[in-house]
Structure formats: C-alpha cells, structure tokens
C-alpha cells in the first residue's frame, strides 16, 4: 500500500498516524509525483493534518526525548525514499516495540536509518564549510549552494549565531529556495514567477568594490598554503568532491 503525502514533514508523520489508525503497517510513504509509486499497488492519499502529526511527534518525544526525535526530521531531509521507508518503519516499531529498537544496528531498517542520518550530518557539516559569501554593494552577504540533501533548515541557527551582525542570504539552487537573515530573524524566501523570469534572462548583482579583491587574495592564499612536495590529489578530491567546486572561488 503506497501512502502518498504532500512532501512536508508533518505529512510524513501523518503517514505513521494513518497507518496505525487504519491498521496498515505495510504502508510505504511516497510523494504523489513519485515514479516509484507502484501503479499496480493500492494507493492512498494521506491528508496532512497538523494535529495528527503533533500526536506522533509527542508520542515519539515521550519514548525517546526531544533531542533524539530530531534525527527523524534529519533523515526525512535526505529526500531518499528508501530512508523514508526505513524511518517510517523504525518510528512504527518505536511505538510497538519500544525505544531500544534504535540500537538494533543488526536490523536492516535501523542500519539504513543510522547510515542515512550520518550522510545528512556530513552534508550539513559540508555546507557549514563550503558556503562562500559574496558581499553585494548594499552590504548583503549572499551565497549559492546545491547540497545533496535539503539541509538548509539544519544550518540556519549556525549561521544566524555566527554572522549575527551581517545580513545574509543562502540560496539552494537545486531546490529553488533560500534563507534570508535580516539581522533579526532567519526566514525562508522563494522566488516569485517574475523573479524567476528575471533570473533566466540574466540579472547582475553589483558587488562590493573590495569583494573581488578578497576573492583574489583567498585564491592566492589557497595556492600559497599548499605544499607541492606533498601533493595528493586523491585525498584532495575525497575531501572536496568535484560537485562542490562550482561555488568555491578557490576552485575556479
């Protein structure tokens, strides 16, 4: 039985709620647009209901504590359907078998959940590392990224605390949304159709007059701090995979 939901985390939790309410433990959470939704299998559209989602969340918190429950959200952000299914089953089993199940690393679902969690953590950490701000002429520090997973929600606090005294924008170019900090709060921003249009026809942002200078110095530093006698491109590529180069000035 495929459970088709709206792609929000609340919707995902509602899949759990519905599968208990309807006694359908074999459900598979998917998006309505997913190719993997099996045409020959029965489908059910899950309506996102905030109250139901909250009940699942509260129930999990009672079993696991608020900190551990965040891990389910993180795995959800992987957008990986296999990991969704594993997380869905692990949640169900926390309710039926108790919280210890999370330590059963010999179990396929638990190990899949745990490995995905690790991947999301790594991507989150990479974004803390690889985000590069450019300063615009009006003082906005902006950055474009294309993370493997939808990790922007996981780095918002980090950047708000660290760069508290400068306005910044982090734009996820894969998912077409961003986070904007106005020195008070961080809020998600999306492009209006007109703005999208403008982007495809080409908009140039005016940079701060010293921005290019510092980008240049950074590249210079990157070269100078390298020890040629120790050259090890394999290691370099392992740490800075090519897919991230596009937005790293030192790799331009």
């Amino acid at each position: 039985m495929s459970y088709l939901f709206d792609g929000t985390y609340a919707g995902f939790l509602c899949c759990v709620f519905d599968s208990f309410a309807r006694k359908e433990p074999e459900a598979i959470p998917l998006l309505s647009g997913d190719q993997s939704a099996d045409l020959f299998k029965a489908q059910r559209t899950v309506i996102t209901d905030v109250e139901s989602a909250k009940r699942v969340q509260k129930g999990l918190e009672k079993h696991l504590g608020a900190v551990a429950v965040r891990d389910f959200y993180r795995v959800f952000l992987s957008e990986d359907r296999k990991a969704w299914l594993a997380a869905f089953r692990v949640i169900s089993r926390v309710f039926t078998a108790g919280p210890d199940i999370l330590q059963n690393f010999g179990d396929d679902d638990v190990i899949c959940f745990s490995l995905t969690l690790k991947k999301v953590h790594r991507e989150r950490h990479r974004m803390k590392a690889f985000i590069r701000f450019q300063k615009s002429s009006d003082g906005l520090f902006f950055s474009i990224v294309e993370p493997d997973f939808d990790v922007l929600p996981l780095i918002a606090d980090f950047f708000r605390e660290r760069y508290a005294d400068q306005p910044w924008l982090i734009w996820d170019n894969k998912r077409k949304y961003g986070l904007l900090y106005d020195q008070i709060t961080v809020s998600p921003v999306q492009l209006s159709p007109e703005e999208k249009m403008a982007l495809t026809t080409g908009v140039t942002l005016t940079l701060d007059e010293r921005d290019e200078h510092f980008q240049h110095l950074w590249k210079q530093y990157f070269q100078s701090t390298n020890i040629e006698a120790r050259r090890n491109m394999k290691l370099h590529l392992r740490h800075v995979p090519k897919r991230y180069w596009k937005y790293l000035p030192e790799k331009q």
Binding site: G106, N226, R231
Partner: protein, 414 residues
C-alpha cells in the same frame, strides 16, 4: 593592493610547514559581535596536498634572528622577506571570516629583535580583533619562547589555542641543526600556560562567569625524518608531553627539505616521509582513544613502525594469542582492538548484539573493514576453524594487492 598580495604569498608560504590547522575544542560564543568557535571545528577547504584549510595561517613576518637549518625562514636563507602591519592582518582575517572562507586565524612569526618585541606585536593583533572588531572566531597563537610571562598571560586571554613547537623530537637532534635552541625553552612556557589554565579551572568553581583562557588548550609539533630518531623515541617524547602539559594535540610533520647546505639533513628533492607520518598519527590515536599502551606498539625490540600496514594490524599480527575475538561475547575494549574495527562500529556491535547474535552480513553493513577484520573475529556464522590461524598467512592475505574489477560473480540477466 599588489603589495598585500605579495606579502600574503610570502607569509602564507613560510607558515605552511606548521601543520596544525585544528579549529576544534573551543567554546567561545558570539557575544554581540561576529563569530564563534565551533566545538567540532570546520575544515573550509583542502589544498591539493590533501591538507585541511581551516584557519588563515600566516606569519606576521619571516624576518628571523635564528638560523635553524630545517626552517625556510632561517636568517642565512636567501628568501624574500616581508612583514604585515597589525591593520593588514586584522583586515584580512575579518574579510576572510565574513565570507566564511575560514574558521579563524593562525598567527605565528619569525623572531625579530627579541622574543618580547615579537610577542607584543602578536598580542596587539589578537587584542584588536577581540576588542575593536568584536571578533569571537577561533585564534591559534604561537607562544614565542622566551617571551615574558605577563605577555603570554595576556595573550592567553584572547587566544583559543596556544602552541610552541618542539621542532625536533630530541634535544640531540635539535642541537645538530639548531644549536641556538633547546627543548627547555619550549617546556617552560608550555608549563606556564598549563599552570594558568589549571589555576583558572580551580578558581572557576568560585566565580560564576569565568574568563576564557586558552579554552582549546595547547599543542606542539615535531618534525619527522630530518634527524635520525626512531619512532619509539618520537612517541616517547609525545607521550611525555601529553602527560606533563596536558596537551590537546602533538603534531608530526614529515620533513620537507628546504636546503642543500646542511649535510646532516635530507636534501631538496628527497620525498617527505608521508607514510611514516601517517603511521605516527595512527599510533597517537591508538594511545589516546583505543586503550593501547605505548609498550604494546613500540618497544626496544620493535622500535620502528611498519610502513606497509597500520600499527593496530601490526600489533594484532604479533599477538595472535588474543585472536580470534568473538564479537558476540567479548567486551568493548577487546572488540576495539580488532584491526578494521573503529570506535563507532565497536559501539554499534555492543549495542546491536543485545537483540540477537550478529552475523557477517550485519557486521559488513555497520561499516567495518571486513577484509581486514574477518581474520581476527568470529561471529554467528563464522566457519569453525580448528587450531590457531597462522598470522603469516593472514598477513599475506591482507597485504596482497586487491584484484581489480572482479565482477565475475555478478549475475547478468541479459
């Protein structure tokens, strides 16, 4: 503008032999300005030599009154000299930091005029960053040997980490290539900073808001392969320094030849001993996180680490009496000693086996290096082997080159 570029080139180039780039272990919060220190540290990029770039690592100047043969900035060396102004370092640091290029500043310097004069300049920079720019990012500052205790103490109020390099692992080695220096001048300031950290810690039970003082602790560095010390000697020094000064890290830096004038040193063009350096770090980790004693890994009968295998595997091959370990019954420390199993997998094994005996397919999924580990463990579906396995054949099996593109056992349907 061009001048600053040239300075950066010279002074980053001269600073790069200091391998420490750690930005972890501090807990500085952003208090109304910019920046904080992330407890886990962040590597913002990696150079083509595969080393982490976390900090803007520069010398204030490469003018130096010393003539240490292994150092590129030695006074007799014919290199371009430069010096940053205080403002230039502050401007570079802030602008790199605001663009998220770096976690912070690593500031070192050649010794010009004298120790106090140099330390005072370094202090001026970190003070300006903290007080005028309200900068709370990471600062790693070199303690200048011979600087006065007042200057060192004040610097410690602004820095997250301080370090002094031993340079060569032994006093004898140091005397060979840097007769003007000695290990005592390193020990003394390390001990002083450590005593200050300790003092503050005992006081802090009484005061609520204790001031930060070198919150990320101290570290040191030894150059490896310039002078003829054995790995046993090197690790003995490291062990002593970890113990006596409560160091956070000892760094081992494979010597990159910078001169042909000193016949005692490896000549330009000879490769730095990178594998050996790696083995020393692995040993360092085994001592600090895996419950090994130095004598088990290195001893007078075995004073050099194997280059063709990691020290844990080497230890296991020399000690077949401990193997195989049954992962379904052994305690955590014993599992941790199995080659190919790290701390995280060992923990997973101990937790998972409560739910049932573990099989090979489960262990593989947990991320252990099966090819190495399976010679040393038994699990639920291990074949029964009578007698003890021959470590000679185990070694041969592990060290043989992996066969490339062995896809023959994949089933093809079409």
């Amino acid at each position: 503008m061009e001048r600053i570029e040239e300075k950066l080139k010279i002074l980053a180039d001269a600073a790069k032999y200091d391998v420490s780039c750690s930005s972890s272990g501090s807990k500085r919060k952003n208090t109304g300005g910019i920046g904080d220190a992330s407890a886990s540290g962040i590597c913002h990029t990696y150079t083509e030599d595969g080393r982490c770039v976390s900090l803007l690592k520069i010398l204030l100047t490469n003018h130096c009154i010393y003539d240490c043969a292994f150092c590129v900035s030695r006074r007799s060396n014919d290199v371009k000299r430069a010096a940053f102004t205080v403002e230039e370092v502050v401007d570079l640091t802030m602008n790199f930091y605001r663009r998220n290029y770096i976690e912070g500043l690593f500031l070192s310097s050649g010794i010009f005029k004298n120790a106090d004069y140099t330390m005072e300049r370094l202090l001026r920079i970190v003070k300006k960053l903290r007080t005028e720019e309200r900068y709370n990012g990471y600062i790693h500052l070199k303690t200048i040997p011979g600087a006065s205790e007042e200057l060192i103490r004040e610097a410690g109020m602004y820095a997250d980490r301080m370090s002094i390099n031993l340079e060569l692992p032994t006093e004898a080695g140091l005397k060979m290539v840097a007769p003007e220096k000695d290990h005592d001048s390193v020990r003394k300031p390390l001990a002083f900073v450590e005593s200050q950290i300790r003092e503050l810690r005992s006081e802090s039970k009484l005061i609520k808001h204790k001031p930060l003082f070198v919150p990320a602790g101290q570290s040191t560095q030894m150059v490896i392969g310039a002078t003829p010390e054995t790995d046993l000697e090197i690790m003995n020094v490291a062990k002593t320094f970890y113990r006596d000064y409560n160091l956070k890290r000892v760094y081992y830096s494979a010597y990159v030849p910078v001169t042909n004038l000193n016949p005692l040193l490896p000549q330009i063009g000879s490769a730095p001993p990178l594998v050996r350096e790696n083995r020393l770090y692995q040993t360092d980790w085994l001592l600090r996180f895996y419950g090994f004693e130095l004598e088990e890994i290195l001893n007078p009968g075995h004073s050099q680490l194997d280059l063709d295998m990691d020290p844990k595997l080497s230890w296991a091959l020399r000690n077949p009496q401990y193997f195989p370990v049954d992962v379904n019954t052994a305690d955590y420390p014993a599992i941790l000693r199995i080659p190919g199993i790290g701390r995280q997998s060992a923990m997973k094994i101990v937790q998972a086996r409560k739910f049932g005996r573990l099989h090979e397919y489960q262990l593989r999924k947990m991320g252990i290096a099966w090819n190495r580990a399976h010679h040393f463990l038994v699990c639920a579906d291990s074949p029964i082997i009578l007698g003890t396995p021959s470590m000679i054949s185990v070694k041969a099996a592990i060290l043989q080159k992996p066969v490339l593109s062995k896809k023959a056992n994949q089933l093809s349907l079409f």
